[in-house]
Amino acid sequence: MIPAAFEYHAPASLADAVKLLGQHGDEAKILSGGQSLIPLMKLRLATPRHVVDINGIAGLDYLKEEDGVLRIGALVREADLEDSEFIRARYPLLHDTSRVVADPLVRNLATVCGNLAHADPANDHPAAMLALGAEVVATGPRGERRIAITSFFTGPFATALRGDEVLTEVRVPVPLPRSGGAYLKLERKVGDFATAAVAVQVALDPAGTCVHAGVGLTNAGTVPIKARRAEGFLRGKPLDDATVRRAGELAAEEADPVDDVRGSAAYKRDLVRVLTARALRLAAGRAGAGR
């Protein structure tokens, strides 16, 4: 449980971090919360020659709503979301999600951006961000670019980030009126990675008809999945029992899980069905409560 030798860098600015990444290319890894990278290095599943620690860079820990977006800086920790009354009240889906990532020790360090950059299909935030329709900001040698979350996850543990880019921000559109969200996760033990989990975000019109729906699936495939057919089906319908059940079935069809120690593919698919319907009921209730 000892990592292979590596060189440690602690740049004081984003520009320096980007420069270091440019210099070392494939041999460099960013270290933010370290809760995925360090275990991988200890197990020698990752053997970066250079570790670029971004924790010393000032100004990356902001969490604020501005110009119609919630901006989550690169050094915002899971615990920051979990402990925020503002997030709980306005972004219940994010609050639900951060509360079920690992355990408090991990959440004190793990970052939301790291959770996305790591792109483990079993990580919890990718599905949440897919449901929320977020955008990420990548900062590289030529400045910033924005990437829609839907084109961010390119494969298992692979993203659209270039080797010399830092994921500096996640941007979540502020919720429409009468919005609600929920994240439901089934785990074998408290703090486990999901057997499967479902993120939903809905907005209702005054009559209770769904005007917006986002559905994201965790550990239901080799990449985080956006359940588009379920989303499309929900739009324009009241979220009654038959509708949420049907949406659950559609989401289950869109899931593409594999067998692993956490469950068989068939069971996970069935879980997606059940959890989607439940999360929709919970989200609709929350949307209604905010009316």
Binding site: L186, G191, Y267, V274
Partner: protein
């Protein structure tokens, strides 16, 4: 009066039954306690083991040149470099490092010693082994099939215990036969046949196994390791290295969890051969990945029960067949079928029995002795079936049990005769505490289960010494594995001498400095070491009172011992400090020392009832009943335990809080096996490598646990104590399975009751009903 000087029979004083804080508690809670991984020896090198990636393969060649060329590497050894000597508890079938053939994923193939851990890791990875993979057998059923590959082709040449039943891939078998089971089954009104399976589970000790081996002048091999059984390690090491056991000093370090996983030799032998080769101390600390791949986890079992019952709910006959997946080597496995047969018979009056359990080699790691080995698997089968039968006969499961349990003076499965049996009290108390029979909410259910277990025998001996400052030292060969048993022993010893418990210092588990002890296993430490401590205390007490009688000019029979003083009964002002008595003893004859020994009396049984047995009867047996309340999510199959009750006969609660700790810990482990834990395999390849893969329960998964201690004194335990450590882990899987059935009408006969299995059982039930 004689009783006052006979420590073994002197009445319990104020320390017995008191929850004194454990002696190591403060240091453990504040991070000051030294565990095995904290021990360093000057000049030590670091060892690392290269392991087999295949379940079964022939080693064609091993190239160690790149490993040897790694900077900092001092030595590399392979199986071929060592004399071919085998070890094993009942059959000597294992070599230190694989020779020519590997038999499981994770088997040690070569070992490296280097100046730094990093170099050792690097070098171990550079050992190039060419393998020719061979077909592997991954289950006992496959291993027993005609023409299956033999895990040990040369098994007939191995040295084995003469009573051990072996045949090809069978490495141990035991039976109990009584009455005429086929007639019993023929005469029964109903015969129920059910099959149960379990998967391997891991002790999940947080501290990996560690050993530091050093050769010290004049040729003594000194090994520090976190072993539960230093004396077994001593014998094995002496055997493997060809030196007298008296030249092997094994010292048990602090132990960060063991639960039976540190009984058999783990890493001591590899450290010792490396140290011998390099002439310097060598330390090996295993990684968690190694601990999951190559340890001694609990056996997977497959159990078939055929039980014949009369219409009125009386059990008349039982047949049981059980297979244990032993893995690639014997270890504990050859002896465990014996234990399994007693649990499979269950704590019931059954006139006709035919019970058979068999350990079978497969190409997997060596499954071993996890706390109450075979207990949870067998009790899961027996107690699930008891519930199933009760429901089929439309009897209340509690009533059905009460109709059949053993009672005072009954005969056990192998003919042992019980004294007092407290099982009815245990069942009734557990049932009452869970609210048995009360109305319940939908998807909520309650389950009951009961079982019985042994207090392992074997010898214990202690040395005792009183110091001139009024403190005492007690030296025992038994290790403290974290149960607090040695605190209870100190309590027992201090109580007999009227000392505050803090005045007793324990020295433990050093094969050259402390006397032989059968070790921290089998719920025996408080029981056996406690008895030896009472004998040593009685001897010292006799000496103290003799001298004090002179000083106080009183008769021995008028003297009492309290708070570190000897006083004259009736005139407490006439007293002498214990320290003064010690000083007097030093002048007179050189000091106040004693020793005490104990060996549990053999429990008589009927020899014609058993065959192949290494454990024919349960000594000072304990009886226990568990009750659980669960809620089941009908759509996902998730089971949540809401409340849990244990009623356990502990004989005498020497230290109630320590016992509650044992009960709570055991229940948590049992709930883990019931609901989530398993070392999953794909064929013979393990899929679990760390605590992320492995689903150990965490605080949030554990319900409120209520402990009810029943005190029905045993004949032979100190103050009537019975073994308490293992029983709490035995019954939870059955209690939970029964509660799940009560909640949703679905019966799961395979452990663990994963959400997926529960859901499948629920759907099966619906389809069956449709």
């Amino acid at each position: 009066m004689a009783a006052a000087t006979d420590g073994l029979r002197s009445p319990a004083g104020p320390l017995i039954g008191r929850s004194v804080p454990r002696l190591d508690g403060f240091h453990k809670a504040t991070g000051r306690f030294a565990y095995g991984t904290d021990v360093v020896v000057a000049g030590m090198l670091h060892g690392r083991v290269a392991r087999s990636p295949y379940p079964h393969a022939r080693i064609r060649a091993i190239d160690t040149s790149a490993a040897l060329a790694t900077p900092g590497v001092v030595a590399v050894v392979t199986g071929r470099d060592l004399p071919e000597r085998r070890f094993g508890a009942l059959v000597k079938d294992e070599t230190v490092l694989a020779v020519d053939v590997v038999r499981y994923v994770g088997q040690p193939v070569a070992a490296v010693a280097a100046l730094a851990v990093e170099a050792a890791i690097e070098a171990a990875a550079r050992i190039a082994v060419e393998y020719d993979p061979l077909p592997a057998v991954d289950t006992p059923e496959a291993a027993l099939r005609a023409g299956a590959p033999l895990v040990h082709e040369a098994w007939t040449t191995y040295v084995a215990h003469p009573q051990l039943i072996r045949a090809g891939n069978v490495c141990g078998a035991a039976t109990i036969a009584k009455g005429d089971p086929s007639r019993g089954l023929a005469d029964a009104d109903h015969v129920f046949e059910d099959v149960f399976t379990t998967e391997p589970v891991h002790q999940a000790y947080l501290e990996p196994r560690v050993a530091i081996a050093a050769w010290e002048p004049p040729g003594v091999l000194t090994v520090h390791s976190n072993t539960q059984l230093p004396f077994e390690a001593q014998t094995v090491l002496a055997d493997l290295l060809g030196i007298p056991p008296g030249r092997v000093r094994v010292i048990t370090t602090g132990i960060g969890g063991a639960f039976g996983g540190k009984l058999r030799v783990g890493v001591e032998h590899i450290a010792a051969v490396l140290a011998q080769r390099v002439g310097r101390p060598v330390r090996i600390v295993l990684t968690m990945a190694e601990e999951f791949a190559a340890a001694y986890p609990r056996h997977a079992m497959r159990i078939t029960l055929r039980t014949g019952v009369r219409r009125d709910g009386t059990i008349v006959a039982k047949e049981a067949h059980a297979l244990l997946d032993a893995g690639a080597f014997g270890g504990s496995s050859p002896g465990l079928p014996s234990v399994a047969t007693l649990v499979l018979a269950g704590p019931y009056r059954i006139p006709h029995l035919s019970i058979e359990a068999t350990s079978v080699y497969t190409h997997k790691q060596n499954f071993g002795s996890y706390r109450a080995p075979t207990g949870p698997q067998c009790a899961f089968a027996v107690e699930s079936q008891m519930d199933m039968i009760a429901r089929r006969l439309r009897l209340d499961p509690l009533e059905f049990r009460l109709r059949n349990i053993v009672r005072d003076g009954d005969e056990g499965p192998s003919g042992q005769v019980f004294g007092k049996v407290s099982l009815e009290a245990a069942l009734r108390k557990a049932a009452a505490a869970i609210g048995w029979g009360h109305r319940r909410q939908p998807h909520h259910g309650k389950g009951l289960a009961c079982s019985w277990w042994t207090t392992t025998g074997g010898p214990s001996a202690v040395y005792a010494r009183l110091h001139a400052d009024g403190t005492a030292t007690l030296a025992t060969g038994c290790a403290e594995i974290g149960t607090g048993a040695l605190t209870a022993v100190a309590q027992i010893f201090a109580d007999d001498l009227g000392l505050p418990v803090e005045n007793v210092t324990l020295i433990s588990a050093d094969t050259l400095a402390t006397p032989y002890d059968h070790g921290a296993q089998g719920s025996r430490s408080t029981f056996a070491v406690g008895n030896a401590a009472r004998a040593a205390a009685a001897d010292i007490r006799r000496q103290v009172l003799g001298l004090a009688a002179e000083v106080l000019e009183a008769r021995v029979s008028d003297l009492g011992l309290r708070d570190g003083r000897v006083y004259v009964r009736g005139t407490p002002s006439r007293q002498v400090e214990l320290g003064d008595v010690v000083r007097l003893a030093m002048q007179r004859h050189g000091g106040l020392v004693s020793s005490g020994t104990f060996v549990a009396p053999a429990t008589p049984y009927k020899t014609d009832c058993v065959s192949g047995h290494f454990y024919p009867a349960f000594h000072a047996p304990s009886f226990h009943a568990h009750a659980a309340e669960v809620v089941v999510d009908p759509e996902t199959g998730t089971v949540r335990a809401l409340r849990y009750v244990v009623a356990q006969d502990v004989g005498k609660a020497i230290n109630p809080r320590l016992i509650e700790g044992q009960i709570e810990g055991g229940v948590v482990q049992g709930l883990g096996q019931a609901l989530r834990e398993r070392i999953a395999y794909q064929g013979a390849y393990p899929l679990v490598h760390n605590f992320s893969d492995y689903a150990l329960p965490r605080c949030g998964d554990v319900p409120q646990i209520t402990s009810i201690l029943i005190e029905e004194p045993s004949d032979s335990g100190p103050h009537g104590a019975r073994g308490v450590g293992e029983p709490p882990i035995i019954t939870p899987p059955a209690a939970i399975a029964n509660a799940v059935h009560d909640a949703v009408g679905a019966r799961v006969t395979d452990l663990p009751l994963s959400p997926e299995r529960v859901l499948r059982a629920m759907r099966g039930r619906l389809e069956g009903a449709a």
